[in-house]
Every structure is written in structure tokens, then in C-alpha cells.
């Protein structure tokens, strides 16, 4: 079995929502080390580890922290816990089952960047996550792991949960910032980047939940040991999910670069009813789909790019042979239309077109030429919008239209014959 557990520790059977249990298992030990290293030392260690953002973009975390301007404006640390990418279920683990791991990472990260306020932006639908995380925060205040003069160090930090309210786009970091400011979650033009002008116009670092949860682990094992675990330029372990048509759906942890096939067939237990794979979505529905011949790929940021797709959130959706791809495409198109914030015309209109064409196809009211229309619409969205939502819609749908054309054509013919 390729699992390597550093972050995921359900198997211990410990209730990690209680601070005493978290402390008993080595929790907050890295605070002393951080004070020894100093803020720049912590940043240097994270930089040296090569840790790349676990939200999906894979941007080097230490480098991001280094972008903060050297001035005296107040800084903010913002946690992106707006988990909403269809197919994804990894940050929920920390938020509900091991909340202090993220909170220790927040303390270390805030210390490194000299922020004294942190907002954890949790998606609105995650009621349990919000309750557990809020409760964990209260436990930390009582034990002086948050608040003024933390453990006598002279460092102050306030952490607040900020609930989303049902908008996928707020997972985009500038939309998330707008949402914390109480506005509609419409992404901002960059530059300026949040490191300079972020939440409430102040320098801001936005990190994903899993990214921050990894920081205490990196400090403990050392940057070198962490980066040695993964593939080159893709250090460490990664939470990976397997869902869809597999026998053993679940959340696992593997070194970055573990072969996708092993994750699907060994951890995921193989395909339901021992069917063949039709398609695989590597890390949430905004990733281009892979065919069954493309799954011999390492699960890391760079290898999946060479296959024309993305690691994304590394939560894999497996689609077995016999599945109606017109239906699947319809669900994808409907989602991105519903979640488009509407400020850029190519995305607002284009996602509507994608959904409308997908519906026509499903109703048997469009022929094979509609596949070309889909590709054309995708091409007109791609690259023409403020944020990546347009591509998130266009790329997967174009990949279905191009790579699975024979299956789509068969499904279209079957519908036309029935009509």
C-alpha cells in the first residue's frame, strides 16, 4: 500500500477535537522551535521544503509569504477553507476531525509573516466544520494559545471563522477577500496582488487549509525530509481522495508523485463491478478529464500538466464504462453556469451556452455538430476572463468533447433514434 500518513491520522482513533489530546500527541511543540528560528527562519524553512499550495494552484508557499512588502501596514492571514470544487473532500477532514493541526499552522504562519489577525473562510454549507473549528478556537483562547501574549512570547493573534454563504467563486482568493469585506464575491483584477493590497486593502496572505496544516509537520521533520518524500519540485505528502465508481471510496495520504493507477486500484479498491474505466477527473471537475489510457501518471502538479490536465485538489473522480457522458457533461456545465459571478461576459454567457448545448444534447434535440459548437464556445471563454472560473468550465468540457467524441456521438445517435 502506498499510503504515508503524516497529516491524516484517523487510524489512531483519537478525538483530536479536544486540545488535551492534540497536545498529548505532540501538538504545538513547534511553537518553541518557531520562536528559536524567528519569523524569517520559519519562512526560510517553508521555502526550503518546497511546499506548494494545496488548494490546487500549487504555488510555492514560502515564496508567497516572501512577497509581502517590507512596511508597517497591518497584515492579514486568510485561510481558504471554502472547499467547493466538485469531487473534493480533503479540507473537511481538518476542519471537522483535526482542527488544531490547521490552527497550529495558522499560529506558525501568522508568526512568520507577522500577522495578528486571521480569518478562516469556511464554506457556508460546512456547518459541522464551522462548529468544530469555532469550538477549537475557543479552547485555544482559554489555554492562551491564541489572544494576547501567546504563551508569554509577546506575540498576539486573533483568529475568527468567517462563514461563506453559498458561492463557489469565493474559493478564488480575491473573491474570498471581497466576501470577507461583506461584498459580492466577484474576483478582482490582478495586480495588485493580495500580498500588497488584500483584505481591507492591507497586505494579505491567503493559504489553503491543508497547506497550513502541513507547516507544523514540515518544521518538525525538517524541510529536507519533507521534500525528499515527494517527487522533484513536488515535495511532501498529499491528501488524495478517490470517489465515484470505485469499490473503496475514501480519503488517503500518499507521497506526492504516487502513481494514479495505484491510488485508484489499490487504495480505491478498483472499479465497481470490475468494469473498465471510462474517464478520470484528477482533482475536481475543473480539471480536464483523462481517458483510461492516460492514468499511468504520477499524482503531482507537474506530471499531470504533461497530460494536459491538473493535480487540482487531488481528489479523484472515477467514471466507469457504461456511464452516459452527456449527463456528466451536463452536470459540469450546469455547475459552472450557476457559479459564474457574472462580471465577465465570456464566462457569464459562455457557461450559459455550454449548459444550454448540453441540455439540448441530453434531450435529443441536437446532433453531432453540437460537439463542435461546444468546443467553439469553450475556445471563446478560455483566456478571456478576469479569473480562472472561465477556464474551469471550458477545459473539462472541451476535454470531454475532444477526447470522448466517439462516446458522445454514440450517445447522440441513441437519443436521436429514440426521439
Amino acid at each position: 500500500m502506498p499510503e504515508h500518513r503524516l497529516l491524516l491520522r484517523r487510524h489512531l482513533g483519537v478525538d483530536f477535537t479536544k486540545l488535551e489530546n492534540y497536545l498529548k500527541h505532540g501538538g504545538f511543540k513547534m511553537w518553541a522551535k518557531a520562536l528559536e528560528l524567528g519569523p524569517d527562519g520559519v519562512t526560510a524553512e517553508v521555502k526550503a521544503s518546497g511546499l506548494r499550495g494545496r488548494g490546487g494552484a500549487g504555488f510555492p508557499t514560502g515564496m508567497k509569504w516572501g512577497f509581502l512588502p517590507k512596511d508597517n501596514r497591518p497584515r492579514y492571514l486568510v485561510v481558504n477553507a471554502d472547499e467547493g470544487e466538485p469531487g473534493t473532500f480533503k479540507d473537511r477532514y481538518f476542519l471537522e476531525e483535526d482542527p488544531f493541526r490547521q490552527l497550529e499552522g495558522i499560529l506558525l504562519g501568522a508568526y512568520a509573516i507577522n500577522a495578528h489577525t486571521c480569518y478562516i473562510y469556511i464554506r457556508g454549507e460546512y456547518w459541522n466544520s464551522k462548529n468544530v473549528t469555532e469550538d477549537a478556537i475557543q479552547q485555544l483562547y482559554k489555554a492562551n494559545w491564541l489572544g494576547k501574549n501567546i504563551q508569554g512570547s509577546g506575540f498576539d493573534l486573533d483568529v475568527y471563522v468567517h462563514s461563506g454563504a453559498g458561492a463557489y467563486i469565493c474559493g478564488e482568493e480575491t473573491a474570498l477577500i471581497e466576501s470577507i469585506e461583506g461584498k459580492p464575491g466577484m474576483p478582482r483584477l490582478k495586480p495588485p496582488f493580495p500580498a500588497n493590497i488584500g483584505v481591507f486593502s492591507m497586505p494579505t496572505i491567503v493559504n489553503n487549509t491543508e497547506t497550513l496544516a502541513a507547516v507544523p509537520v514540515i518544521l518538525e521533520m525538517g524541510a529536507q525530509a519533507w521534500s525528499d518524500l515527494g517527487s522533484p519540485r513536488n515535495g511532501g505528502t498529499k491528501l488524495v481522495g478517490v470517489a465515484g465508481h470505485v469499490k473503496n471510496p475514501g480519503l488517503f495520504e500518499v507521497p506526492m508523485g504516487t502513481p494514479m493507477r495505484e491510488i485508484i486500484y489499490e487504495l480505491g479498491g478498483g472499479i465497481l463491478d470490475d468494469r473498465e474505466i471510462l474517464a478520470v477527473i484528477p482533482g475536481g471537475s475543473s480539471c480536464p478529464f483523462l481517458t483510461k489510457d492516460e492514468i499511468d501518471v504520477a499524482m503531482d502538479f507537474d506530471a499531470l500538466k504533461t497530460k494536459g490536465s491538473m493535480l487540482g485538489t487531488a481528489c479523484i473522480t472515477v467514471i466507469a464504462e457504461g456511464t452516459d457522458l452527456i449527463k456528466v457533461m451536463g452536470r459540469v456545465a450546469k455547475f459552472y453556469q450557476h457559479e459564474s459571478c457574472g462580471q465577465c461576459t465570456p464566462c457569464r454567457q459562455g457557461t450559459g451556452w455550454l449548459h444550454a448545448i448540453a441540455q439540448k444534447l441530453d434531450q435529443g434535440a441536437a446532433g453531432e455538430e453540437a460537439i463542435d459548437l461546444l468546443i467553439d464556445a469553450c475556445n471563446q471563454i478560455d483566456g478571456n476572463t478576469i479569473c480562472a472560473h472561465g477556464e474551469a468550465a471550458a477545459w473539462p468540457i472541451r476535454s470531454i468533447a475532444k477526447k470522448f467524441r466517439p462516446q458522445l456521438e454514440a450517445a447522440i445517435r441513441a437519443r436521436l433514434a429514440a426521439a
Binding site: 475568527y160 462563514s163 453559498g166 461583506g182 461584498k183 459580492p184 470517489a243 471537475s285 473522480t317 452536470r331
Partner: protein
């Protein structure tokens, strides 16, 4: 508008205290807007125009900015909702695991279509986007509770139980049957059962 009406909404004492605390968390009062809209929705059932005016006054914001934000977020209700908000995920992972059968069962038991609220104010049925528990699909959420690995039979039992519970509880505060009340009913107030 409604300020002269006897039931002009007012925040409860507990919520007023919460708002004071929320305002300390943000350097600008608008930062507290979404948290305060959540409090308002919890107390009044949904965000009618008078409720949004109240929120605007409380945070010293324009009504327009409150409205713009409230309109953007699907979980902030701009119309009355049923006591039980049945939200069934129909995105890819749940579709692959049979969510169409789950929606069909909900329609059969509740007698309403997705997007509709039952005329007794007890149930709103909705197809929603990924709830991000795909390894336990199909999933649904009713108010703040998650349900995983749902089957049509387990859903029938769950909804039947809620029908019994709901008959005793009645609708949410602020319930108005829009079909009976007609257009702009909330402008006249008079429907708050809180």
C-alpha cells in the same frame, strides 16, 4: 415602506450583543455584513426588505450594498423557505452514485418539485451543488445536518419522520405563502410569527 408597521423587525437582545462583538472582528463594519445577515436569517426566517433595511441601519451601510451582497449568495434566503430545507447534491460524484433516484423519491414523498416550497411551509426542495463529501455519496443536507450514503428508502423514512415533526413545529418564523400573498407581500409586514 414598513417603518410605521407594528411588526417592524427588531434584533433580539442576544443578537444585538452578538453584533457588537462581530463588529470588533473587522476594521470596517461591512466586514460584519455576512455574519449579521446570517443572524438575521436565523431570527427572521428569511431576508425580507424590512429585515435588510434593519441590517443596513445596524451596520450604517446603504440598503443597496446590503441588497447587493444578499442577492449574490444562494444560502441567504430572499424569499420564505420551508421549515426543512432539503438540499440534494446532484453534481457529478452524487450523480454517479444515484442522486437522480434520491431526487425522485423526495419529489414523490413531498409532492413538490425542486425549487418549490410546500404550501404548508414545511419543506423546500432543492437540487444543490457539490457538498464535498463525495466519498460518502449520495449526499444531502437538511438545514444544518448532513446525510451521507443516502438511499431512496432511507430518504423516505427520514422525510416521513420530518413530516411528523414538522406538523408539530409549524413553519419557520416569517413564513408567507407567496402563492396566497401575491406580489410584494412583505412590504405590508404582518406575517411575522416570531
Amino acid at each position: 415602506m414598513s417603518e410605521a408597521m407594528p411588526d417592524t423587525p427588531q434584533f433580539s437582545t442576544a443578537n444585538k450583543q452578538k453584533i457588537v462583538e462581530l463588529l470588533t472582528r473587522y476594521p470596517r463594519s461591512q466586514g460584519a455584513l455576512i455574519p449579521v445577515l446570517w443572524l438575521a436569517q436565523d431570527q427572521f426566517g428569511w431576508l425580507s426588505t424590512p429585515v435588510m433595511e434593519l441590517v443596513a441601519a445596524e451596520l450604517k451601510l446603504s440598503v443597496t450594498s446590503v441588497l447587493a451582497t444578499a442577492m449574490f449568495y444562494t444560502m441567504l434566503y430572499k424569499k420564505p423557505h420551508g421549515r426543512f430545507h432539503v438540499q440534494i447534491c446532484t453534481n457529478v460524484s452524487c450523480y454517479l452514485r444515484g442522486s437522480d433516484d434520491i431526487v425522485a423519491m423526495a419529489r414523490e414523498v413531498l409532492g413538490i418539485e425542486p425549487g418549490q416550497t410546500s404550501s404548508d411551509g414545511l419543506f423546500t426542495l432543492e437540487e444543490v451543488q457539490c457538498l464535498c463529501a463525495c466519498e460518502r455519496a449520495p449526499t444531502l443536507q437538511i438545514n444544518q445536518d448532513d446525510y451521507f450514503r443516502v438511499t431512496p428508502e432511507s430518504l423516505r423514512e427520514l422525510l416521513t419522520n420530518l413530516q411528523t415533526v414538522g406538523a408539530k413545529l409549524g413553519p419557520r418564523p416569517g413564513w408567507v405563502d407567496e402563492a396566497l400573498a401575491g406580489h410584494g407581500s412583505h412590504e405590508h409586514g404582518g406575517h411575522h410569527h416570531a
